[in-house]
């Protein structure tokens, strides 16, 4: 998968080999070390999250056990228990599921709005482009966490509202990242050829240009997922996440701060889950980048 731009330097033979021989996306990502780590971690995280949402957890996430209050890390309680005897691991699984749900929804919002905006801004005329880019600059001027805070203030905390808040805040990044390859591709030979053949603008956009920016969009989606998990956890840490009884990782961290000096696992458990999920999606993004652009390949 090569982005055919005028600016691309000539490819080396080994690069071409990678391109012609790769066995689809999975194979290409698997080739890079970071991509491999990312894929494994993300797969584990997603499975754990889905199980958490489906309620398939070792204990009930909210089930209190007066006989197992503040128990340390053991085989029966992987992350120990909290002051009510709730299993921290089960709670973290459910929180992870909710996090992933919000992250997926918000990245869907950001990706669709942002990619469309970026493609249109890169391809259509000067004025459309100027308007979209100005609007992006304005949206970009409000730090994303603050923007999410403002939207949550207006809409009130819930899963959908948190997703909108995080998604709209991240959309400008998609616009910027997608626009520049489209801009370069507009002047490339195959688009010019399409134009000469009399293809309509929309056909050029969606059949010729969009397939060539999917790599960029995929990389950005993975990084955005990592960021969205962080943003969601930050919002719920500040008490602005989805209201209880919905579990959330940020809230677990926040609740543990008074407890952690006697029961470190209540802080370590949910923190570990957040960090692992974020690292996983970041590494997957690295792998996707290596796969989609041989020039940046890390060895």
């Amino acid at each position: 998968m090569i982005i055919d731009t005028a600016a691309t330097p000539p490819l080396k033979l080994e690069d071409l080999e990678l391109v012609t021989r790769h066995r689809g996306w999975v194979g290409a990502v698997w080739r890079s070390r970071n991509g491999r780590i990312g894929m494994i971690v993300v797969a584990l995280v997603v499975v754990a999250g889905i199980l958490g949402l489906a309620g398939v957890t070792p204990y009930g996430p909210a089930a209190q056990d007066p006989n197992a209050v503040l128990k340390g890390v053991s085989l029966s309680h992987l992350f120990g228990t909290d002051q009510f005897g709730r299993d921290v691991f089960s709670g973290a699984m459910q929180g992870l599921g909710v996090s992933l749900e919000i992250a997926a929804l918000s990245v869907l919002i950001a990706g669709v709005i942002g990619s469309l905006g970026g493609i249109i801004a890169g391809f259509l005329g000067k004025w459309t482009s100027a308007v979209i880019m100005r609007a992006t600059d304005m949206l970009f001027a409000i730090p994303t966490v603050l923007f999410a805070l403002a939207i949550v203030t207006a809409l009130g905390p819930s899963i959908v509202d948190s997703s909108i808040a995080i998604g709209v805040g991240w959309a400008p990044i998609f616009v910027r990242v997608v626009r520049s390859p489209v801009l370069a591709m507009r002047e490339s030979d195959f688009v010019k050829a399409g134009r000469v053949l009399g293809y309509s603008r929309w056909r050029l956009l969606f059949h010729h240009i969009l397939p060539n920016v999917t790599g960029v969009i995929a990389v950005q989606t993975s990084l955005a997922l990592a960021w969205a998990i962080l943003a969601e956890a930050s919002l719920s840490f500040l008490g602005l996440g989805p209201p209880p009884p919905i579990a959330s990782l940020g809230e677990m961290v926040s609740n543990s701060s008074s407890l952690a000096s006697i029961a470190w696992w209540t802080l370590a458990g949910p923190s570990l889950v957040i960090v692992v999920a974020v690292i996983g999606f970041n590494f997957l993004g690295d792998g996707l980048r290596d796969a989609s652009d041989p020039r940046t390949r890390t060895r």
Binding site: A141, P143, V145, A150, S234, L238, S257, L267, I279, N282
Partner: protein, 320 residues
């Protein structure tokens, strides 16, 4: 002359962006369903004097069409009127006046430490690619990018309170001028936490930029003609990587401002972030609106300054 023109043009576009930010904030906070103003005004009925309520009604243009509401808010903003807090009944500008210095100090400290970590370890990594020095750099950048501010902050507070009996809330916040030493003690730990994330991003950028520059022909030429190592590192590599590092630092400011909101909450610092969170939970709408606006203004203005800095840093941009 052309430099002056560039400054004027950049200032103008910054003003346009700021105006756009005010429109976005207006749309988000006033036009979305569950109009925060009327909800908040209802709550505050008993708290404010009739005169203040009348002033607020006038300020927000209650009952008028949206465009009219926006214009009256914009007019008030331009004249420096930020409204009245629905909870403390003080002018919002007074509240921001006391909170802003705290956040500025925190941001400044974090930025200085972050740039020092980022540039220092970034250069160190780039000068020893693939060696153990590089691994240390990579480790710092992964830790800094993956561990969120709120986890790092919570861990630090828990650790300090169990081992050193340090509690963020034990003493009221001291100003820089009234008690500089206490002020330093209170600001340094939150600043360290915030700086790690910034430092990690700057580290990655510095490393990539320096590696790129060192692979160019002129770097080889410089070494070939016998430039001393010190001059090579700082004059040839660092100066050329500086543009990328400056851009990244400007971008990181947005992250930093978002981070202050969280870190001020953890370390109980009476800055803008804490003001924002308190006013969000109190539905104290005039304060929320102004605080977000000030945060955005700070971000936009600093990025303008960063852009203008290029002219100083990079002689190539002076030609046009």
């Amino acid at each position: 002359m052309s430099a002056l023109l560039a400054v004027v043009r950049r200032t103008f576009s910054t003003l346009v962006t700021l105006w756009g930010v005010s429109v976005i904030i207006f749309i988000v906070l006033r036009l979305l369903p569950g109009n925060a103003v009327s909800a908040a005004m209802g709550v505050s009925e008993g708290l404010l004097t009739p005169g203040q309520i009348a002033a607020l009604n006038r300020y927000y243009g209650v009952g008028q069409p949206a465009v009219q509401q926006y214009l009256s808010w914009l007019h008030a903003l331009v004249t420096g009127n930020l409204g009245i807090s629905l909870v403390s009944r003080e002018a919002v500008s007074t509240l921001i006046g006391t909170a802003l210095p705290v956040t500025l100090e925190l941001a400044l400290f974090s930025m200085i430490i972050g740039v020092a970590i980022g540039v220092g370890f970034g250069m160190w990594s780039a000068l020893h690619p693939g060696r153990w020095q590089d691994d240390i750099g990579q480790a710092i950048s992964v830790i800094g990018l993956a561990i969120p501010v709120f986890i790092l902050g919570t861990v630090l507070v828990v650790f300090m309170s169990t081992h050193f009996h340090y509690f963020p809330s034990s003493k009221p916040f001291a100003g820089v001028l009234t008690n500089p030493w206490l002020n330093f003690q209170q600001i340094i730990f939150p600043a360290l936490v915030l700086s790690l994330g910034i430092g990690a991003a700057i580290l990655r950028t510095t490393r990539a930029a320096v590696l790129e520059v060192s692979s160019l022909n002129f770097a080889r030429t410089a070494l070939g003609k016998g430039v001393s190592r010190r001059a090579f590192v700082w004059r040839h590599l660092f100066l050329n990587a500086l543009t990328a590092v400056t851009t990244m630092s400007g971008i990181q400011l947005g992250y930093l401002l978002g981070g202050t909101v969280i870190i001020e909450q953890i370390f109980i610092l009476p800055g803008m972030g804490r003001l924002l969170i308190t006013s969000i939970s109190n539905r104290d709408f005039p304060v929320v609106q102004s605080t977000v606006l000030i945060f955005a203004a700070g971000f936009v203005i600093v990025n303008m300054l960063v852009d203008l800095c290029y002219t100083l840093i990079d002689p190539r941009t002076r030609k046009q």
